[in-house]
């Protein structure tokens, strides 16, 4: 069991700056995120899109913003638990016991939810039998490509993941690549490579088709795909891979006894605390009168939630407000020389 002053759920810009604020006032924290990298929506949804409304930063991309926030955390030692989703938050006296889907558990007086619009999950097929075949014949990510060796694999999607795997697996598998339209959104070099492999009969390409039906008893034996003119083709296949990007699901947060309205968590505007003492929500996921879903609002909310954490983490000390320009204590935490 990991003991920490505050646990942050979500490593997006708000979670990162909240971690900075906690460390600045002398508290420990750890961060959990379901994605395999730091940055949240900024890195997953719009790494290349310019943002124009970060104070004092006229223009930066989602990736640049993330890198700058990571740099700002450099003086501090913060443990990130990536590719882990917090599944359970339970009260134990004055502490919260937090458990992730990978079995990591924390005990902490403060839980800060900086979860954006929830956790990112792969978008799944909506046809009958999806649940039955998932992780047996249907996969949304690949852990061990050797499983597919010598088999027929049907890959759905038109982005880089779908195309990269089609190219890679075509070395030793029979590949069907199925996409809903003629254009692909993957990198041009990969798209060219796919077309080359199609000409060499290494990849069977079906465009304007979508998955209609899964056939098989314990494993998938074949699939039916259908195009816009209702033409149906039956393809023999051992495996089906879907790469439709990630969607955001509120997920387990809904089960923690919080007041939730339209996928957001209600908080006060003094501490950004929820209806549960010691659980805070900041950034896009929180809701209060006048809430703006801006990154800059998340920074403000995180700064206040961090101060509120101090009271519960250090009940016998008094929090004293200090400026980074003048405080010796803060400068020593930052590892910079005092004047």
């Amino acid at each position: 069991m990991i003991k920490t002053d505050a646990l942050i759920i979500g490593a997006g810009p708000t979670g990162l700056f909240t971690a900075h604020q906690l460390k600045l006032i002398g508290l420990d924290c750890e961060v959990v995120d379901n994605l395999d990298k730091i940055g949240g929506q900024c890195i997953e949804l719009y790494p290349d899109k310019p943002i124009y409304d970060i104070p004092a930063v006229p223009e930066c991309t989602g990736e640049e913003l993330t890198n700058n926030l990571i740099n700002q955390l450099k003086p501090f030692d913060i443990k990130f638990h990536l590719s882990e989703r917090v599944d359970e938050v339970k009260k134990n006296g004055d502490m919260w016991i937090v458990k992730t889907n990978k079995g990591t558990s924390f005990t902490t007086p403060n839980v800060i939810i900086a979860g954006g619009v929830g956790s990112f999950e792969p978008r799944k097929f909506s046809v009958e039998g999806q649940d039955k075949f998932e992780n047996k014949s249907i996969f949304y990510s690949i852990k061990d490509k050797n499983v597919f060796k010598g088999k027929t694999v049907s890959i759905f999607g038109g982005g880089d993941s779908a195309l990269d795997w089609a190219v890679e697996l075509s070395n030793n598998c029979n590949i069907n690549l199925i996409h809903r339209r003629d254009e692909f959104r993957g990198a041009q070099a990969t798209v060219d490579k796919v077309h080359e492999l199609v000409k060499l009969n290494k990849i069977n390409l079906f465009t304007k088709f979508q998955l209609k039906k899964l056939n098989g008893s314990s494993n998938i034996e074949s699939i039916d795909i259908e195009n816009e003119d209702k033409e149906i083709k039956n393809l023999k296949t051992d495996y089906v891979l879907g790469f439709f990007g990630l969607i955001m699901q509120l997920g387990p947060i809904a089960n923690w006894g919080l007041n939730i309205d339209k996928k957001t968590v209600e908080v006060d505007t003094e501490k950004f605390e929820t209806n549960q003492k010691g659980i805070y929500a900041v950034g896009d996921i929180c809701n209060y009168p006048g809430k703006l879903k801006l990154i800059l609002s998340g920074f403000h909310e995180g700064a206040l939630a961090a101060r509120a954490c101090f009271k519960l983490a250090r009940p016998n000390e008094k929090y004293r407000f200090e400026f980074t320009t003048s405080s010796k204590a803060i400068k020593s935490r930052l590892g910079v020389k005092s004047d």
Binding site: L45, S126, G159, Q210, F244, I247, M248
Partner: protein
């Protein structure tokens, strides 16, 4: 003001007046019409304001912007007449527009 009809997957229909200049997504959100999530708030960065535009209207609305089809690839059950409602601008010539929602957004 332009009249727009939103039809939920269940068949429930909502006809509302939407201010010109807003998007079809904003019209739904401001009128509390269920079935359009708009998780990213109109940034064309998710696909949760996905609608099907009635055939006769499809050619009358503004064309898809660059990248919209890339996002629609990631929508729930995309079809030929799929659009992201955050990319459809409301104007007088859309008076009477009918859009329907997929079974779910995410």
């Amino acid at each position: 003001m332009t009249k727009i009809t939103y039809i939920e997957h269940s068949g429930t229909s909502h006809t509302v007046d939407v201010e010109n200049g807003l998007t079809v997504m904003e019209g739904a959100v401001q009128n509390n019409i269920p079935g359009i999530d708009a998780d990213c708030g109109g940034g064309m960065a998710c696909a949760t304001c996905h609608v099907y535009v009635k055939e006769e209207w499809f050619d009358k609305i503004n064309e898809k912007s660059e990248g919209e089809d890339d996002m629609i690839d990631q929508a729930f059950e995309p079809k030929k007449n799929s659009r992201l409602s955050c990319q459809i601008l409301v104007s007088e010539n859309l008076d009477g527009l009918v859009v329907s929602m997929p079974e779910k957004q995410s």
